[in-house]
Every structure is written in structure tokens, then in C-alpha cells.
Symmetry: C2
Subunit: 204 residues, 2 copies
DNA sequence: ACCATTACTGACACGATGTCAACAGTTGCG
DNA sequence: CGCAACTGTTGACATCGTGTCAGTAATGGT
């Protein structure tokens, strides 16, 4: 007898390992909620052991933040379509809502996960709120400009922006973060109508 | 020497114990988020030991459901002001929003906690969604009646109801579930304007 | 005074997290 | 080629919160 047991440990570059873990997490979230995402389950979907996880990420919340990473930026690019209102402001608003909805449509599960995680972890919460807060701030400023230009009737810009921005986030994660997703067109339609009527009193 | 160590265990009626635990949890939530609510911390604020908790509640999620309990009903009573639209429908909507906002104002921290817990526990999530779903359903029906009566222009009632109801929940928990709370009047104002404009195209 | 009932708890098993010292591929250098 | 030095990787451990259960201590009825 013999056959020395061959240990056979695979080995990758750090970047490859990170990417492998992120991919596993992304896959996981595509059909299970964030609350079920454990380090164990994610690493079981890679060729690595559980402790390796902590080499690349501090904890599962930071993993999520890495996963979402650029989406925040993408969202803001979309919002600028409206905020930098070169064109007709109403057309701009419409285009911005379209863009934002598209981002949520594409990254629905990840954004749902961030939203869920923000009630669990203080750091994620802070980042998530900060993102929405930027939106609120920018929207409020824009509303105030429109009021000053007498294209809107006067009202409390800050609170209105808060309500509408939170609505977007909630409704969009709801519509696209769970299965089956709501048809994109009817979601966009609905948001357009509410925003434009609420702000300008105009139907699309 | 002697002095037999006197064990001294206090004793209450089951109802008193339950109430004591609920009160402790309520107090806890008044200045700390749900994610920090552990069985340990709650029971430390009572004269009971941690295991006793499980005599009265299955887990911390069920505790929360008991704590909120009747609030769901209260909300629905408020909503009926609008849904059973005896009076002027616009006045009815206004009154309903007033009532709903008042409930969130009073029970802000508890409702925030439920909302948070719903991302953690499947059972809480189901109950929470069911509550909002009832609202959506009722609102959608009402909208359809108004459209049929030609008091509103036609649009997708179901999706509009979804967006507006989720907005209410999110915005109201945000406004009243964290400190310092937003002034009630400006919150109600904002919601009124958005709802009435979105549905009727009318400013308050 | 006694016992049946019931409120209560110490001690345990479990599951998930996060850490660390040791191990094993890989790479470069003589 | 052989041998360090480096670094990716992991087994084993400590910790924390949860949920359970057998056993203990008050209580009320007789």
C-alpha cells in the first residue's frame, strides 16, 4: 500500500481569486436574498476555502459594496440628464427617469441586496443613505431653480425631492429586485406620470 | 456563620411577564435600531433571564410582530376614509393621508423596525408585504372606480398604486423612524400634493 | 402540610463569524 | 539544479448570539 495522498491545492492570482468570489456572490444573489448569503455558501461556489474569503474582503457587507461599486456612479450619470437641463426640462426629466429605471432593471438583484443590507450593517446604511441623499439634494436644487424660473408653482422642494427619490428607490427595487420582474415600460410610464404631474402638473 | 444564601426568584403572571418584555423591547427600539436588538439586551432590561424570553416569544421577529400588532389595523381604518369615499373623493384622500401619516408619526420607531426586520426574516417579510399589498389592491380598485366615473384620466391603476403606496411607506418611515423626526405638517403637505396631483392633476 | 402546577433558569448544542499559525505552491537567485 | 523567501491557502480555534431542555423554586388548591 502507499499512494501518497496528493494534497493538490490550486493557486491563483489575487485578482483572479477576488473576481471568482465576486462572481460567486453575484450568482448567488441572482436567485436568493441577501439574508441567506453566508460566507460559507459563497465560498462553496468557488474553489477556495472559507477563511480565504477574509483575505480578500473584510466581511460580507464589504463584499456587497465591492459588488455594487460602480452602479452608484452609473445612476448619477443618468440623473445628470435631468439636472444639467440643457434641453427641455420635461424631456430631460423623462430621459433621466428612463436611464435610472434601466440601471435598476439591469442590476435589480444587486440593488435589492444593498437596500436589504443597509438595514443590517451601519456602514452599508451610511453609504446607501449618502447615495440617496445626493440624489435628494440635487433634485431639490433643481426644483428650486425651476420654481425660481416660474416653470413650477412654489412648494417645499426638499421634502418633495425626498419623497420622490425614496419612491423611485423603493418602487424600482420592488419592481426589478424580485421575480418575476415588472415590465420595464409600464414602470417607466408610471414613474414618469407621477414625477411630471407632481412637479409640473403635466401628464406625459 | 450561616446565612443561607436566599435564592429569591421573583414571579409574575404570564401576562405581566409578556408585557414587561414588550415594554423593554419598545423602550429599546426608541433609541436603537432593530439590528442591535438581541434577546440578551432586551431581557437584561427586565427582571427575567434570557431563556425566559423563549417561553413568551418564538424569536425576536415574532416579538416585533406582537409589538406592532394592532398598528396594521389602525392604518387600514385610516385608509378607509378614502376608500369608502362617501364624501368628496379629494377631501377623502386628504383625510386618509392625514390619518396614515399620524399613525406613522406616533409609531415611527416600531414601523421602522418592522420594515428593517422584513429584510431579515421571511415571515416578517411576508406579513409586511401582505399589509402593503392590501393597500395597493384597495388603492388600485379605488383608482379604477374613479377612472370609470371619469373623475380621473385613464392610466395603469395597479402600478400607480404600487408606486404611491411604497412611497408612503418609505418616506414616512424615513421621516418619522429616525431622529430628529421631520415636522408632521410638511410631510403631510408633501404627500398630499404628490398624491392629488398624480391622481387628479390638482394642487391642494 | 402537602402536592400538582407552573414560572423560571443553568447549562448545553449549534451555527456563523473572524483570526492565526502553519503549510504548500511559486518564484527568483546562487 | 537546489534552496531560500515569498505569498496564496487553510485547519483549527475563540467568540457570539440563538434556541432547547431538564431540573429547580414559587404558588395555589385541598
Amino acid at each position: 500500500m502507499s499512494a501518497a495522498p496528493v494534497p493538490q491545492r490550486r493557486r491563483r492570482s489575487p485578482d483572479a481569486a477576488r473576481a471568482e468570489i465576486l462572481a460567486a456572490a453575484h450568482l448567488f444573489l441572482s436567485d436568493r436574498p441577501f439574508r441567506e448569503l453566508t460566507v460559507d455558501e459563497v465560498m462553496a461556489r468557488t474553489g477556495l476555502s472559507r477563511p480565504s474569503f477574509y483575505v480578500y474582503f473584510r466581511d460580507r457587507h464589504q463584499l456587497l459594496l465591492s459588488l455594487v461599486g460602480e452602479i452608484g456612479g452609473e445612476l448619477f450619470v443618468m440623473a445628470e440628464r435631468w439636472l444639467k437641463g440643457g434641453e427641455d426640462p420635461i424631456e430631460g426629466a423623462r430621459a433621466a427617469l428612463h436611464g435610472i429605471a434601466a440601471v435598476y432593471f439591469e442590476h435589480g438583484t444587486a440593488l435589492k441586496a444593498i437596500s436589504d443590507a443597509s438595514t443590517t450593517d451601519p456602514e452599508v446604511e451610511a453609504i446607501y443613505r449618502a447615495l440617496l441623499e445626493r440624489f435628494v439634494e440635487a433634485t431639490a436644487e433643481h426644483i428650486e431653480e425651476e420654481i425660481a424660473a416660474e416653470r413650477m408653482l412654489p412648494f417645499d422642494a426638499r421634502e418633495t425631492a425626498r419623497a420622490l427619490v425614496w419612491m423611485n428607490d423603493r418602487y424600482l427595487t420592488e419592481a426589478f429586485g424580485t421575480l418575476p420582474p415588472t415590465p420595464l415600460a409600464s414602470v417607466v410610464d408610471t414613474l414618469e406620470r407621477i414625477w411630471l404631474r407632481a412637479l409640473y402638473g403635466v401628464s406625459p
